[in-house]
Symmetry: C2
Subunit: 326 residues, 2 copies
């Protein structure tokens, strides 16, 4: 299947994203692609309720990043944030393990109000994006409740934010469960975005808890979107660089599950025929050959996105790579 | 009935209060009375839901005032307030006619969370007061939902905050209804506070919409608390001074209901035998005789409470007056 264009920036792309790393590549893609050509589908398995508010951490990280509102120092929440509500909540005895800034809080408050009024998360997200000046489509993977549960050696099964924030990823991971995933349907617009896409990019997000929930929601679709009988090529960018993650517990999770953390382990996790191509960091270039041995086309480049320019460059590299694979 | 003390500050008092004026006299009383001797019972008919949050404007005004947290310039909300959440909520398209500051918002957020968890409003208020360092008892009149509805010529029946804040008290008042009042029971502690009280003070709050709801909840009690067969003496402080209110629509309401607004009209509104004594401002001293003509003992003094000292002085004057009536 050849797209009717030769400019990689004119490819139609669906990007699958979790939190910080995914948001950065999505931002890079948004910098070089027209809004109608890019759809970002975001994990909602991390969503939870705190202080009685519905919080969608990955959706917010992606939207704040695309909207230029994100706090690039902390990697979560809003820039120029204040903490008046949080301080008063602490004074009133509210749980204080999940920090919510004032600006960020408005997002959860208004989302909660609308969800209670039966607006779907996808519609709320669309309206928020419009108001934040985000022109590219951002979709939650589903409007249905899905809860990522982390099974741990020390504490049994923990809701994701309990594991991730409250317990600071310290408990040893045994496995994962995505409660509600079997009855969760893709959000409106998700299937349509895949149908018109030339390729799918798995952003450098946690394979276990950010990307797998999205893939699991898409897996039962018939006709299949990717894999042996699916039409779409799929390229993943490794979230593991030199055996470590830039942020987050992906490497720790691989290790605790008995798998040596590496870009190769990520390629193997998704596997062929799901993956057509795989992007590794230049420092992992020696893993290109074993990746190719999996039947997956490797491509190595700089994948560290500490600057806005790096995001754009990686996005361009990924699109060029996809163009070659088409 | 003689209390076993001659120091007026050692009287046991229940004060009935609405918003700003009531809160100021309650604060004056709290300045000169021991915590165990004063209970403030607050109107909850103004309570409403906004942005999905349960808001109790009068309770908050009383608590913020007693806790030294109130914004004395606006007469509502918190001092040293910030508006980050509000600004972001506006950006997200939320209704902006009711301004909620960041610090104030925490109160509503935590109250809402606890109410949803089946904690009663009285228990939540008790805990909030403890955390805010308020040592005198503040009780909502009821834990049950009561909604003050304002019937207007131009717009029909309006929920109170819709009339008061959104429509800025502009519609012409025809009458009032207190939805839910017939099934509302006094909050835990209310009856006990009356039982041990030497006297009851009606603070200078709006008779129609702040005090009447409290009196209506108490009216069906048997044995009755005050009135012809009740044991308690009751003293009201006029919220109308020189035909006007310091704040709020009480005078406008009297006029629109065909009653010339004056301290005398307030005394007549409560009437005898409910009222034992009535406190008027010195500028209304000429109304003392007609008040006495109603069978109510008049007492005139300065009732303007623009300074903390004025609050304390008025509280002392009221207690001295009560002492003379006992």
């Amino acid at each position: 299947m050849k797209p009717n264009t030769t400019n990689p920036s004119d490819l139609k792309i669906v990007a699958l994203a979790g939190g910080v790393g995914g948001a950065k590549l999505a931002d890079g893609l948004a910098q070089i692609m027209q809004p109608e050509n890019l759809t970002v589908i975001v994990n909602t398995g991390d969503d939870f309720t705190h202080w009685g508010l519905n919080i969608s951490p990955d959706l917010d990280t992606v939207c704040y990043t695309l909207g230029g509102l994100a706090n690039s120092v902390t990697g979560w929440g809003r820039m120029d944030e204040s903490w008046s509500v949080f301080e008063q909540m602490e004074r009133l005895g509210a749980e204080a393990w999940f920090r919510l800034g004032d600006k960020d809080l408005a997002t959860h408050l208004e989302r909660t109000r609308r969800l209670r009024g039966e607006e779907p998360l996808s519609g709320i997200t669309r309206d928020f994006c419009r108001r934040w000046g985000i022109r590219h489509a951002v979709l939650p993977m589903t409007d249905d409740p899905v809860a990522t549960m982390v099974d741990t050696v020390e504490m049994g099964e923990l809701a994701f934010q309990e594991y991730f924030v409250h317990q600071r990823c310290e408990p040893t991971v045994k496995g994962f469960r995505f409660a509600g995933i079997d009855s969760a349907r893709p959000a409106p617009g998700v299937i349509e975005a895949f149908e018109k896409a030339d390729a799918v990019v798995i952003c450098p997000s946690n394979p276990w808890v950010s990307v797998d929930p999205i893939l699991k929601i898409l897996a039962p679709l018939n006709p299949p979107i990717f894999g042996e009988n699916g039409g779409k090529i799929l390229v993943a960018v490794s979230p593991i660089i030199g055996g470590k993650t830039v942020k987050g517990p992906a490497a720790k999770m691989f290790a605790e599950l008995g798998i040596e953390p590496s870009a190769l382990a990520v390629a193997r996790h998704y596997g062929s025929p799901l993956l057509t191509g795989f992007v590794l960091d230049t420092i992992d270039a020696d893993l290109s050959e074993p990746v190719a041995g999996l039947g997956i086309v490797p491509f190595s480049t700089n994948t560290i996105m500490n600057l806005s320019d790096n995001r754009r460059q990686l996005a361009q590299d990924v699109l060029n790579f996809i163009q070659r694979l088409l």
